[in-house]
Symmetry: C2
């Protein structure tokens, strides 16, 4: 079983409006409210892959109830620790005429120490049955920046490998705790490594590999850097690879989460790195090609898999 941790899930509300009046009243043509945040997205993708997955999260208030209800509808097994604060919403306004999206991210719900202690207890109970753990998303208010590091150490003690997808201090602390994989995007890697990074092609390779090596030196066993349309770079003990997908038009929201799901899936199955990276990159592409964030069509995945090029990179 793969456990996906959602410390700060969200209710993602999307309004489609044909030509937004930003200083007036709008009546959206369609309204959608689904569980969101990185954890629920990763769990949905794993579920779609047929993996045995359990979402473990924190939820509170009426939006927390909506998140739980939505996951149940989607057939994603989930266990939530109840918190007093209201689970956050995200609002996205899609202007279908201009092709623009405005997003509004509410801050995460405050978590108290006793609430978090109850969550950690339920996590510890589940760990012995896990083949992998995914720690994904920001650390909500009330919890220390070391929260993911502590959850990583607990998993290690139980012999369970961890995929960590976060940023800033929680990424640095978490990497030090020895996760199997950390998955920063390029901006997150740049912040973590304290250097400017860009990806315009192979000439930027050395700088990216060096920054990834810094996170490995901290303690991460492997670093997978997501480059958006430019695919994924994995820097591991066994070598470094770049999985480069065919360009697809589409919605990049959730593509990174789909890649994390693919990495966890491959990790739990023990698949070799080139294959694991291909799987993760194809899931990312297929998710970007889908009209709705966090979903993907099997034929898009198959097509992306065929068209992907994975090349081994020279590490200095």
């Amino acid at each position: 079983m793969i456990a996906v941790i959602a410390l700060s899930p969200a209710l993602d509300v999307t309004h489609h409006v044909d030509g937004v009046d930003w200083a007036g009243v709008n009546r959206p043509a369609s309204v959608r409210a689904v569980p969101g945040g990185k954890g629920p997205n990763v769990a949905r993708t794993l579920r779609a892959l047929g993996a045995d997955v359990l979402l473990l999260g924190l939820a509170g208030g009426s939006t927390g109830a909506a998140v739980q209800g939505g996951l149940q509808e989607a057939g994603v097994p989930a266990v939530f620790t109840q918190i007093a604060a209201d689970t956050r919403r995200t609002f996205a306004v899609v202007d279908t005429r201009r092709g623009e999206v405005a997003s509004f991210y509410e801050p995460g719900a405050q978590v108290s120490a006793p609430e978090y202690a109850r969550f950690v207890a339920s996590y510890a109970e589940v760990l012995p049955r896990c083949t992998a753990v995914v720690l994904s998303g920001s650390v909500p208010p009330g919890l220390p920046a070391t929260a993911y590091a502590e959850l990583t150490l607990a998993a290690s003690s139980a012999g369970v490998p961890v995929v960590l997808d976060t940023s800033g201090e929680p990424l640095l602390h978490g990497a030090s705790a020895g996760p199997a994989i950390v998955k920063p995007n390029l901006a997150e890697l740049a912040t973590a490594a304290g250097r400017d990074l860009r990806w315009a092609g192979r000439r930027d390779q050395a700088a990216v590999l060096a920054a990834a090596a810094q996170l490995r030196e901290l303690g991460a066993h492997a670093v997978v850097v997501s480059l958006g349309a430019h695919g994924l770079i994995a820097v591991t003990r066994d070598g470094a690879w770049h999985a480069l997908p065919e360009p697809v038009p589409g919605n990049p929201t959730g593509a990174g989460d789909a890649a994390v799901a693919g990495l966890a899936h491959g990790l739990a199955q023990g698949s070799p790195w080139p294959e694991r990276l291909r799987h993760a990159a194809a899931l990312g592409s297929a998710t970007a090609a889908a009209p709705i964030a966090g979903e993907f069509a099997t034929h898009h995945y198959q097509l992306a898999l065929e068209k992907l090029r994975v090349r081994q990179m020279e590490q200095e």
Copy 2:
């Protein structure tokens, strides 16, 4: 007791953003989620006036639960008939840098015939204890345009006077059922009367009075037209009056609902028309002067009351 009917309440979510990026990610500085829609606004104002009020509504899903929880917090007694569909949200983005507000109104929740029958039963049960009924807001999907007319007839049978604040077909049907007061704004009155209307001063008086007379001919005992910053015009059996407030800068959202609360309050107390109209217009002004839609400060109300001019109008 004044019963306020909320067939289509909402959860009003407001994000304050300092300079919105309409094509990117925004992190609101403040987030507020409160019960909204005309009925809850009217009920809150009546509660603030110390009136004995009961909100009777339809609510469903997690947003319905949030509306119910919010009313309980605000100390507004409410009885809700549960429906299967999710209660709607409204979403307002206040750009504090530009001083602009974008609003997004989700469509009302679908109501089934058995759900509505249960609501009507609870309404009938409450009527004998009522001194006035307020029917306010749009008719949600699933209900006929005659819904307010039927609720008005039921109140009349119980000897309870009705204040009706709606628009379009439900206003025309409702007026025919003989409510004590209908409260259209100028645009709603124009639509109902089938004529262009504007208010730039006394020269537009004859046209507005004639349009109001049409609604009285349909069956409404009195017509109160809200003119925004230009106050209220009442056309009644006893005469016609214009209550003209001092101009106040502020937020007009909910000012019309506060005026409806004032009208119902005066109706239940049997206060004479000039006084009733003064009360309603002052509540509207005080609500517009408050920073948050649907709330008002007592000193603003007192000040507005002092500064208001009520003049009797000549009816042709």
